[in-house]
Amino acid sequence: MKIEILEESDLKVKFILREAPIALANSFRRAMKSLVPTMAVDYVDFYMNTSFLYDEIIAHRIGLIPIKTDLERFNLPEKCSCGGEGCPNCQVSFRLNVEGPKVVYSGDLISDDPEIRPVYDNIPIIELYEGQQLMIEAVARLGTGKEHAKFQPVTVCFYKIIPEIVVKDNCDKCGKCVEVCVRNVLKKENDKIEVGNVLACSMCMECVKNCEENAIEVLETNDYLFTVEGTGALPVKTVMRKALEILRDKAKEMNEIIQTLI
């Protein structure tokens, strides 16, 4: 198993996972999506809301705002020493007290903890008009994507198989496969069919279907092209590392269970 990074930034990573069974590739994807914890607002107290939007809508909008997460300092509520009641080791609260006319942005949320802030300061939450007031306290905690999508550290996270395209000797160079390939993967060069950018191939099998000589084959391999985009709560590389750690711990736990059974 090998990982080869193609493109990298804090918000987007593209990499190739080589020589891994497909079950592992998929569990890696699922771990990134639903097992890595991040912070999000989960509970909102409304003291005053005279705006045009209902409390629930505002709470929902605030919940979707990604919040910078520090996994070293915070515990999941169920694993915290407070037993899930809420303490500074598992919760951060945000206050907001604004009067209209004004557009309220995510940057207006005043955090208890200067390091734990919304990732973006300019997400509009609500528009207040003359005489309207909003006074709330929002409580953020760690959670996993399993529980609610707002806790997912990644947005787009998918893989596809990188195929192996084989052109056999009975190919008569008619060029039909080149014509039908919508992704322009195949090229006709020096009277030979060449494979260009195999990463772009969607395995649509159009080339195979249209080849009258049955000379081309698109084979599945154990290599996968992953595309992972983050919300900004955690750098994508941290998410990848954390997901692998979680998978390893799960495998260990499974192993122990099996050991006790035999």
């Binding site: 045009f52 939007l53 990604p66 973006y120 300019n122 509009p124 947005t155 787009v156 900004g232």
Partner: protein
């Protein structure tokens, strides 16, 4: 109000809305504005293209119904 995230893929888009509006006011087409903001997927692009604010409409009737 403009959605915080894309309904389909979940990407955060709320922070780009003000910039998008500014670009349109500068006379750019929605296509140019979205390309400059780096919004690739069509699910996220339609969020910008089909957005219509109704909160201003509500404001017109403020006080009329209590």
């Amino acid at each position: 109000m403009f959605p915080v995230r894309c309904f389909s893929c979940g990407a955060v888009i709320g922070h780009l809305y003000e910039e998008y509006k500014k670009k349109l006011e500068e006379g750019k087409t929605p296509k140019e504005a979205l390309d400059e903001l780096g919004i690739e997927r069509y699910c996220c692009r339609r969020m910008f293209l089909t957005y219509k604010s109704v909160i201003k409409e509500f404001a017109r009737f403020h006080g009329a119904v209590g």
